[in-house]
């Protein structure tokens, strides 16, 4: 007897738009060449190797830090947790650029300190950067599963006759294993999608070769490579969906008091990781700023970034609203929402490739900001949908019914109840999209109109031209933007933690 919710047709249009890039790539890429050439296999090997090494590094750094932050009483615990997740908010190209410039003969470390260091580049360099910037995924998921574990379980296992090590092995590890796997897969996803790090370190992964093909006017070959990369991404996403995360009502969290281990044994490695991931870029960009000043930086670039990001944030939130409301309205709506999540899995370079073709075919979009903003909207739509939906879902269904029974029309109930109560989610979603767009590189690189530079593309130009000193201002601004993103993200997380548990009756 229920009519289809009003949000459905709008959400369906958005979902169709989200399918557009994949459709374009299929049209362009299928038949553009043999699916499995020796060259493609070479790229696949390089990509897989980089992903494997990065994930291994992320796990090696992330798991011990997770155990330290979840189970050991550390001084300034909250600070360490935020600081240790901070690299996640930084785009890895900042790190790649800084490490690339700092190490090796003629690098900044040699210039400043007179120490000769081995260069950081190639496969190992890229893996180091990816590990440094994706370990927080592993840290967060592992920590969550450790925190979700009730210490009562360990106690129960011990009263049933297991020794403490055996209890940890048989009760704790199976639960935490899923957390580690989930984080490792997120790290793999990030590595597969990342363009700038392999490009700066000169590793021939899919993303780098797609860019090379695009520059050589091989759009359909780029599309084919994009499809192959998407297949890899799909495999990782599938594996991720299989890693179930059980959740139980958290009881007393597991706490290990390691008297024997001084806290410095934990804090020193943590500080080292932070120094490499955050301290080094800040120091390198700071040194350049001191040496070369702000000359050579055109403030219009920062303005470009800010207003495209603002437009994209506004547009994304507007198209996210019907999707988020549809997702809460019924099963079909949830299906539509899933489709819009495609953007999450589509690497920026792939999104760029698909929309470049759209620009070639639709003259009024060619070389326009509108096309670039469309790319941002499709890519970051899931962020906005997620933020709006999570507040919307915590909204009691009966509130709208209550407003209606008090005489409010559906429009009035939306304006006075639904909208004010989801406004925080809408603003948080817009902020996240804004900050992501400020830092986006690959799609911007492919789609920016001639003469348009953003902070990220400016950094790329500086890298390509070799005038590293010019990177100081855009680099530091991007770090600042990343810091703001971190604030928004942690604020959102805290709100979710503090949300009162509602007793749901129906």
């Amino acid at each position: 007897m229920r009519r289809a919710p009003l949000s459905y047709p709008l959400a369906a249009v958005v979902a169709a738009a989200a399918l557009l890039p994949v459709a374009v790539l299929l049209y362009l890429g299928v038949g553009a060449g043999p699916a499995l050439s020796p060259r493609a296999l070479g790229i696949l090997g390089e990509t897989a190797l980089l992903t494997g090494l990065s994930v291994a590094g992320a796990v090696l750094i992330g798991v011990p830090l997770a155990v330290a932050s979840a189970c050991i009483e550390l001084p300034l615990r909250r600070f360490w947790l935020v600081a240790l997740t901070a690299p996640l908010a930084m785009p890895s190209y900042i790190g790649a650029f800084a490490l690339f410039a700092a190490f090796g003969p003629g690098g900044e470390i040699e210039n400043l300190l007179g120490l000769t260091t081995p260069p950081v580049r190639g496969l190992w360099g890229a893996a180091l950067v990816m590990a440094l910037y994706t370990y927080p995924f592993v840290l967060l998921t592992t920590r969550a599963s450790l925190r979700g574990l009730d210490a009562g379980l360990v106690d129960a296992a011990r009263t049933l006759g297991l020794s403490l090590p055996m209890a940890l092995l048989r009760v704790v590890l199976p639960r935490v294993r899923n957390g580690i796997a989930a984080g490792a897969l997120l790290s793999a996803l990030y590595t597969l999608s990342d363009f700038a790090t392999p490009a700066i370190m000169q590793v021939d992964t899919f993303t780098r070769v797609i860019f090379i093909e695009y520059n050589a006017f091989g759009l359909s070959r780029a599309a084919l490579l994009s499809l192959q990369l998407l297949t890899l991404v799909a495999v990782v996403l599938f594996l991720e969906s299989r890693v179930g995360s059980e959740r139980e009502r958290p009881g007393r969290p597991l706490s290990l008091r390691l008297q024997a281990l001084p806290t410095t044994a934990v804090l020193v490695p943590a500080a080292l990781v932070l120094a490499a991931a955050i301290g080094l870029p800040l120091a390198v960009f700071g040194a350049w700023l001191a040496r070369e000043g702000t000359a050579g930086f055109d403030p219009a670039i920062a303005l470009n970034s800010a207003y495209t990001a603002a437009l994209a944030a506004l547009g994304t939130v507007i198209i996210a609203l019907p999707v988020a409301y549809a997702a809460s309205a019924g099963r079909f709506g949830r299906g539509l929402e899933r489709v819009t999540y495609l953007g999450f899995g589509i690497p920026g370079i792939v999104m760029g490739t698909a929309l470049v073709y759209v620009g070639l075919r639709v003259p009024f979009l060619y070389q326009t900001l509108a096309l670039l903003i469309l790319a941002y909207m499709l890519r970051f739509l899931p962020l906005a949908v997620g933020a709006v939906r999570s507040t919307n879902e915590r909204l009691d269904r009966n509130l709208v019914g209550a407003a209606r029974s008090l005489g409010a029309t559906p429009a009035e109930a939306f304006r006075r109840i639904t909208l004010p109560l989801t406004l925080r989610g809408i603003i948080a979603g817009a902020a996240l999209v804004f900050l992501e767009v400020m830092r986006e590189l690959p799609a911007t690189l492919l789609l920016r109109p001639t003469g348009f530079e953003s902070l990220a593309t400016e950094l790329w130009r500086v890298y390509e031209a070799g005038y590293f000193g010019r990177a100081a201002v855009p680099g530091l601004l991007l770090v600042l933007v990343s810091g703001l993103a971190l604030l928004v993200m942690t604020a959102g997380e805290q709100r979710i933690d503090n949300a009162p548990a509602r007793d749901r009756q129906r």
């Binding site: 009691d396 009966n398 019914g401 008090l406 005489g407 409010a408 029309t409 109840i417 007793d503």
Partner: protein, 338 residues
């Protein structure tokens, strides 16, 4: 005034409401009671307009509503009081109560009646369950509904609060003089609050009448058992006289014809004595404070529940003599050929 006529609702193949009809007068409180899934909440939601009738019709204040002539909830002026209160979390108490009310005096009036004036500026998440329910009720009443619908209004509150708030709500409803449809699964609540009680089962209204009538002259064995402890004792009916193993009693007129019957016995219709011709053995006893509830197994018969005053002391296993001592006519149902 509300009239519900031959109301049916189906979800797919399951029938949720089956031919439900009743009327509700202004100022009257009708409680709908029944086990989970009996359709009582659906009835409420159809009246509120949150659900569409499958067939049948409603009339609210003379406005006819059916499947084809649907009136949206905001046009019905039915005040709905939710089980989980549904207070708007971003509005304070006074703003909640005055959601669409122009006349501030009405808001203050109902806050005063329900004793929540000091909370006017508080936000819902700072209120206790009982306060939330008072706010929810005040909100409904301040919007001057033509009738009030209450969906298990007390079920999220603890027991001590329930008893107290029950009477407060009843008094406020009576003061407002509006009709109220009060859905509950608690038979004590239904019997003590309702001017009339409707007992629902599997989408049907099994009985509708004053509480005393439903309790003492239940229309079916289900109603008898749902409203309180009930034992069915085999017996014979001749005219108005009932003969059973536990002695004789008077039958209610019209319940059944002459012949074999099952007599409905409530725990206070029977007394136990430790002397005389014993015909039962005590199985267990439960101390209830002012009274004591005994279970006694009749020789080759059913388990009787008997409530005595607390001074009676009988040990489990003790032989007793059970006798019908009810001073009122008993309900009897034609014997089921089991």
């Amino acid at each position: 005034m509300l009239a519900v006529r031959d109301l049916c609702v189906r979800y797919g193949r399951t029938t949720v409401l089956d031919d439900v009809s009743f009327e509700l007068d202004d100022g009257e409180i009708l409680t709908l009671v029944g086990p989970t899934g009996c359709g009582k909440t659906t009835t409420l939601r159809v009246v509120a307009g949150l659900e569409r009738p499958g067939s049948g019709a409603l009339e609210i204040d003379g406005v006819h509503i059916d499947r084809d002539r649907f009136v949206p909830p905001e046009k019905r002026r039915t005040g709905l009081v939710f089980q989980d209160f549904a207070l708007f979390p971003h509005l304070c108490v006074a703003e909640n109560i005055g959601f669409r009310v122009r006349d501030r005096a009405r808001v203050t009036h109902w806050m005063r009646v329900l004793g929540i004036e000091p909370l006017a500026d508080a936000y819902p998440d700072t209120l206790s369950g009982g306060q939330k329910q008072r706010v929810a009720l005040a909100r409904s009443l301040a919007h001057e509904p033509s009738l009030i619908l209450l969906d298990e209004p007390l079920s999220n509150l603890d027991a001590a609060l329930k008893a107290e708030l029950r009477w407060e709500i009843r008094a406020a409803l009576k003061e407002a003089g509006v009709g109220a449809l009060w859905v509950t699964h608690d038979q004590d609540e239904a019997l003590s609050i309702g001017d009339r009680v409707g007992i629902m089962r599997a989408g049907r209204l099994e009985q509708l009448g004053p509480p005393e009538q439903c309790f003492s002259a239940p229309a079916s064995r289900f109603v008898a058992q749902f409203l309180g402890e009930a034992v069915f004792l085999p017996g014979e009916r001749r005219g108005d006289e009932l003969r059973t193993l536990l002695g004789a009693g008077t039958a209610r007129a019209g319940d059944s014809g002459d012949g074999p019957v099952d007599v409905l016995l409530r725990p206070d219709d029977v007394t136990l004595a430790a002397d005389g011709d014993t015909n039962a053995a005590v199985e267990w006893s439960r101390y209830e404070g002012g009274t004591r509830l005994y279970a006694a197994r009749l020789d080759d018969g059913p388990l009787l529940k008997v409530r005595t005053n607390h001074e009676t002391h009988l040990a489990p296993g003790e032989r007793v003599s059970a006798r019908i001592t009810a001073g009122h006519p008993l309900a009897a149902f034609p014997r089921e050929s089991a």
